[in-house]
Symmetry: C2
Subunit: 446 residues, 2 copies
């Protein structure tokens, strides 16, 4: 009788916990959900007979020790920096662990210990990272098995809002950590194109976007992720000529966001003078310097961006309230904090809102002298504000992997990510039962 | 018989040491020069009878202790982060100290101890900071003494190359720390304009410049310093409507540098892949992404900047060799390191080159109901590669202040900067003997 514990009962947990509880009776599991809020944990367990809700404080060494010791498999949905605390206990007590987060340096350093102790530490078992690895590796392995030679791999993913709930000019609401959205892309993006390294600094990341078409769902915009090349080696694509990983947004979002980057209001490194008492209009004006002379703020921004005053960009920014004579009312706030605070109000999911996940992989390869293209696309829509497509696609891969570990179907040990057939096959198969299904198109390139 | 020690015999030391040695016989001083290179210290002392050259390693606690104990006044020209090590010894042994560097937090924390012990720790006694404070405060105090009300203060300074030695299209050579020049302005600039805060992010700092006219010397370009407002309080200008501090460059420099910032090649936060083996052309191309398609690198850069292929900006960049098929030959280099390495070769002062310091203060104030303007400008030219205007203007204020301390003419104690009459009057007076003379123009503003 296996014992599984889920640590953290936040936004990405509902499908994951439901899945484990649904499977618990059949497999004879107990499923414990620990959260800093006992009430939150209880709401997720919903009184299921195989479930148990507990209060759990990750900062308590004794609680960490106890909860890991008492269970066989630990799924951590805690903030990424906390995983290492749990991982150390998992090593001590010989427990398998699953997270949906990127492998940190600290976690990677546990590789040889985990292997020696026969423990599986599966990371990046969410959506992006997670389903991207799982779905891409299936196709990469297929192409390789047919002696195809991959020359290009582009992969995009976006957590968006479903068209029926899209009632704002940005085509965007928060389904994920707002701070990460506001700070997204800071630094320099790196990818490969036709054998050459390409760098895009933050100042033009949202300007130099690519158009991505998804059949039956229309056009999206993709901006490059920070480092597109880090998965060359895990994917076995060392010599590939073109490799790009990007984030998708609805058309128009990026040009609007580019205005914020150009203004400088996504900066989180200094506080704005007197941020409590100034208005949103003051705030925007203070970045428009010479352009404000003899102009309204709207006109100054249009002049600064070299666009028409009646353009969609200005309308989007106006819709957010950035031209309002309303006090910001935030003490010692950075520009990014001011922007985030406003966006959290404007881009809030309402109860009935449905979000939407879009993922697309584009492969180009040569097989038998013929250049071919495979496009593999996924669109998943959420049910409501809690049962989001984001929670579904982030949570289910971790849940399925926890099951595969509990049932002994994953035998590889060490610090892993889900790029190998023993994991990606059963996960992809089971995701189909939840309507997480990629559509593939294969064409010849002329 | 006073003993003065100068720690560090580098670029900014020649005039300073000459000045102290020239004054030594009359005042009965000994002047010790300590440098990590004994040979370098000897070259500066030139066998003067009152002088002594010693090898000095700032990392040795015993050497720090000994050299401070043996002297009465310590002038530190060491790297800024080292001053605190010397300052602690000065406190221990009750010695006065002079530096040309910004007051660090650590030094500021010594204020009450220094005061209690009757020690003067004079900082910012160079050019910028230094002569800027000295010359501006003289005029600010004069205006105030006439019951004038200051409404605007703009102050610019640049370490440039003298027209007769200006033989490159950038109008620039290094007379100062190259790394600081390459990284200059990163972050966000803050200043005040007509009562409003103004922020300029780095991505447009070199685009949004101001034109500065210096009588008999022509036009310069000024870009805003990081924080123009930090001297409002030390200058007693708390309520001022406009306050800007900027850095001067020759016309055209900033638009060229803006190309580097836009490309992203002044970034020091990551290393460029395979930086050892790629060429300068590869390097530039890797930042030009989509613009390279079907174009030469020069054409791609022109298209990216939205300028003509034959424009001066492209010519300046070409002159630097950034389009050459020549290996960079630097291991694990950041973009900024690659750029700096190239610039150090191209912007090197030759033996006979004369540098030039330009400083200008622009004051606007209301006196008796009339709006008036004072422009105060300084131009100093160097003699050669060693006796630079930079060394003269950085070194002489510290040297004069060391003399004023040795002769008991400065009585104020604590952690100070030279903003008060007891210091700025005699320093300004003596600087005139060295042809460091501000020209003032006063006009009414209609």
């Amino acid at each position: 009788m296996k014992k599984i514990v889920v640590l953290g009962a936040g936004r990405s947990s509902p499908y994951l916990i439901d899945y484990l509880l649904e499977n618990a009776a059949f497999h004879g599991w107990t499923v414990t959900v620990g959260d800093v809020s006992l009430e939150q944990a209880r709401q997720r367990v919903k009184g299921a007979p195989e479930g148990k809700a507990v209060a759990f404080d990750v900062n308590s060494q004794s609680q960490r020790e106890q909860i890991v010791r008492e269970n066989d498999i630990v799924v951590s949905l805690l903030p990424p920096s906390m995983h290492i605390l749990i991982a150390r206990e998992c090593l001590r007590f010989g427990r398998h662990m699953v997270t949906a987060s990127y492998v940190s340096k600290e976690i990677r350093a546990l590789e040889s210990d985990a292997k020696a102790l026969g423990i599986t530490m599966m990371n990046e078992a969410g959506l992006d990272p997670g389903i991207d690895h799982i779905s891409a590796m299936k196709i990469i392995d297929e192409i390789k098995s047919r002696n195809g030679h991959l020359i290009s791999f582009k992969s995009y993913c976006g957590g968006l809002i479903s068209p029926e709930s899209d009632d704002n000019p940005w085509g965007y609401k928060f389904t994920w950590n707002p701070r990460n959205v506001v700070l997204a892309g800071q630094g320099t993006a790196l990818y490969m194109e036709r054998g050459k390294h390409r760098y895009i600094p933050y100042s033009r990341l949202f300007k130099e976007t690519e158009r991505v078409e998804v059949k039956n769902f229309g056009s999206f915009e993709g901006y490059a992720n920070r480092d597109s090349l880090s998965y060359r080696e895990p994917y076995g694509l060392e010599g590939i000529e073109t490799m790009l990983r990007g984030t998708l947004r609805m058309p128009g979002f990026c040009e609007g966001w580019h205005a914020f980057v150009s203004l400088g209001i996504t900066d989180d490194s200094y506080t704005v003078d007197d941020s409590e008492n100034i208005t949103y209009r003051d705030f925007i004006e203070s970045y428009l310097g010479r352009y404000t002379s003899g102009r309204s703020t709207e006109e100054a921004l249009a002049a600064f961006m070299n666009i028409d005053k009646d353009s969609d960009i200005i309308k989007r920014i106006e819709w957010l309230g950035l031209f309002e004579d309303k006090k910001i009312n935030l003490k010692k706030a950075t520009p990014a904090m001011i922007l985030q605070n406003l966006l959290e109000e404007k881009w809030k999911l309402s109860e009935e809102d449905k979000d939407m996940i879009v993922m697309q992989h584009q492969f180009e390869y040569i097989e038998g002298g013929v250049r071919k293209r495979i496009t593999s696309s996924l669109v998943v829509k959420g049910e409501d504000k809690n049962y989001t497509a984001m929670a579904k696609t982030v949570g289910l891969p971790s849940a399925i992997i926890a099951k595969l570990l509990a049932t002994g179907r994953i035998t590889r040990r060490g610090v892993l990510i889900p790029t190998f057939p023993e994991v990606y096959r059963p996960v992809l198969e089971e995701l189909e039962d939840y309507d997480i299904i990629f559509g593939e198109e294969e064409t010849e390139v002329r």
